[in-house]
Symmetry: C2
Subunit: 213 residues, 2 copies
């Protein structure tokens, strides 16, 4: 899925001359991010027989933030938390999606994603790129209540899809219910209620044979 | 595309017992909205040979708000504007997408969308549903700077995709460059700069034969 060598999407049909240079850079970036719609995740949709892509996943998280904010253990700025989820997967445009249970790919993930961030946010005017990069760094660091809640949404959303699929990625070879609980525990850093709910879904999935014991 | 008679998605595999009733309603709604990923728009993606769906379109608008907010003619609350674009197309889950140049479908659009909003937001606990409905009403009414900017993004984004497609929906039978300009003029209510840019893209598209004169 790495498309970093393919050049900018906007170069395939350059924007017309006569645009302000700063605005041209903004639009070039906004065309480039169309690629996020082609980055497939492992999760199966609940509403159709296909895998989810990063762009629709990110939208789903944004709506989840709005609906589930009341379960946050610490006060959060909802608008800011939505910004974090909107940008959180952008680096996958160049770094690809790293499946959550692929521990080997996980090792090189941070390095690949840092390089991808430099490349992608570098398309923007410097101040605009710095602002988006700061949001991605905040999401990754999880040192703010907003970042912890955004991360919790990122881990909680696939649980809903896996539940609807009666297993989904829980059925990945080698993955156990205990491994799923381990990867999802980070939800508890943001919301006791949602972490209890997540465990309830996983426990019940295990009981029904949708995840291995 | 109307799926209102098909029942709730969550009914296909009910959530386990033992969940708090309020939280269950929140999760039932968040599963239901997965359907937005199956509502196809007319716009072709720039990054792949397929049409765009409403969920990824809404994500794209959210990122556009963040990147283009500096071009707003009035001060806007960026976080609030993002909320508006995240919810703006939700009613299409039951009402379907109404193509922008389909004037016949446009007549019944408001009525169908109001009914869809009652149905969809009615899945939620009353206060949560009222909050999301208020955002959708605000977007539709365009009486706040945030709603005007959100609407501008909704009209500007397909211009970028159509530009990349060397025409896209501009080539819809019966549609002229002048009709496109007419439908896009609302961008000017939020940003003089972005409206000038939109006109520049349409004018240049017409000059190149991608839109009929």
């Amino acid at each position: 899925m790495t498309t970093s060598d393919a050049g900018l999407l906007a170069d395939l049909n350059p924007l017309p001359s006569g645009l302000d240079a700063r605005l041209r850079d903004h639009l070039t970036f906004l065309i480039e991010v169309d690629k996020l719609k082609t980055i497939l995740r492992q999760s199966p949709l609940a509403a159709a027989q296909r895998r989810e892509n990063d762009a629709e996943h990110s939208w789903h998280l944004a709506l989840m933030v709005m609906v589930l904010a009341e379960y946050a253990d610490e006060p959060i700025d909802v608008g800011h938390t939505i910004k974090l989820v909107v940008v959180h997967d952008l680096v996958e445009i160049y770094a690809g999606d790293t499946p959550i249970y692929d521990t080997e790919a996980g090792v090189s993930q941070q390095e690949r994603e840092e390089a991808a961030a430099d490349q992608l946010f570098g398309i923007l005017p410097e101040d605009s790129g710095r602002a988006l990069r700061a949001l991605w760094d905040e999401f990754e660091a999880r040192t703010t209540p907003e970042a912890r809640f955004a991360k919790a949404m990122d881990r909680f959303q696939p649980l809903l899809l896996n539940w609807m699929a009666k297993g989904g990625t829980w059925r990945t070879p080698g993955v156990t219910a205990e491994a799923v609980r381990g990867r999802k525990a980070v939800i508890g850093e943001a919301s006791k209620t949602l972490w209890e709910t997540a465990r309830h879904l996983i426990d019940e999935g295990e009981r029904r044979g949708w995840a291995r014991g």
